[in-house]
Symmetry: none
Subunit: 117 residues, 4 copies
Amino acid sequence: MFDIDIQSRIPIYEQIYNKVIELIIKGILVENAQLPSVRNLSKELNVNPNTVAKAYQELERSKIIYSLSGRGSFVSEIDREKMKERILEDFDICVRETLQFGLTKDELKNRIDGVSL
Amino acid sequence: MFDIDIQSRIPIYEQIYNKVIELIIKGILVENAQLPSVRNLSKELNVNPNTVAKAYQELERSKIIYSLSGRGSFVSEIDREKMKERILEDFDICVRETLQFGLTKDELKNRIDGVSL
Amino acid sequence: MFDIDIQSRIPIYEQIYNKVIELIIKGILVENAQLPSVRNLSKELNVNPNTVAKAYQELERSKIIYSLSGRGSFVSEIDREKMKERILEDFDICVRETLQFGLTKDELKNRIDGVSL
Amino acid sequence: MFDIDIQSRIPIYEQIYNKVIELIIKGILVENAQLPSVRNLSKELNVNPNTVAKAYQELERSKIIYSLSGRGSFVSEIDREKMKERILEDFDICVRETLQFGLTKDELKNRIDGVSL
DNA sequence: GTGGTCTAGACCACG
DNA sequence: GTGGTCTAGACCACG
């Protein structure tokens, strides 16, 4: 579930950060669901607890999760519409960069049809 | 032309690297055009000459530019089709990430129509 | 009455501790009034009974409440003057921090006029 | 300059964080001024470099400082008016809490006169 | 030299 | 058991 790539140039704590967001958006982690504890996740991923803690702290600062002292970390209230918008804005950037390179919108639309998960 | 963001977390040398590619694809830098010298570009961007040199070295390693000793750096022969394909592969990644979040291809196509440069 | 914020970084037992003092000073809890039992308050606040017990213990150590074994916890004799002084000392700290930042006493006085409960 | 209290219950990194803000507001650290390096400050304060780094990272996340890779950390552009407003809002909270305890605005104003730095 | 990341491991408050 | 803080120390990319 939390497959991370230790070789990647993306820091591990950032991969965990992104993974949690992904799991929330996919609906795998729902509102108020408890995240794995820092210790458990660090064991599962075979990374240092501090690394997981850093990811969780950043998620908390971003209001994506909250922690109850002594109890654990939980998924915050989610505004799915807002999240969707944020994702689409990221997509806009992708598209814009591509258009700048001289590609047409039709080329992009055709390309989308060829993409599979 | 080479507007880079010194505060960005993307390394400066990488920004320069990407910028050169962008300028080539946009047709601003054409085949065999001479790039600014390391010294001049470093002054213009107010960055360390080593940083520019590193970008140029990587561009050369990627066969995107070539250098003639004592004369400067030049744009290599360009295979526009190959470049286009590389850009579209980047775009695929963008799309895939978005689909994973539950958005539909139609939503993406509509979104493209709303993007302006 | 005992509205506490479970997500706050201020420990829950400390919030309860402060709340009791606040209720006493506001005159809502009067001398010899009985506090809610640990069990009841913990249910009402949906927190661990140990947490409420800790708050009560500290309140007792501070002589703010007293407990009669088997009967419950009660508000101690109140020296309103002493309490007022303690609050004003806290206020001094607030003011001092603000002055250190270069604000004038007149600015603070004007600001007070704008504050409403 | 960076006197911190290792005994305090306020985390060291948070004390450093607050101290930097204080120095900025007092005008001791001006726009684009370079902060002491993580290593130097950690030696001066006799704390672990990681602790200083954590403070700096939070300051950067809050846009109060920025770091140039390989060069150091610097004070961001400052909107003094906005900062002043933020401080006054904190003061409001202080005042409100005091008023809730039944003190009058006149009492607070008199109290301010007695405060010295 | 600079900050960024990570490990290993400790201790603590809270509940 | 849970997260939060901190130390000691390593390695890395960037410039």
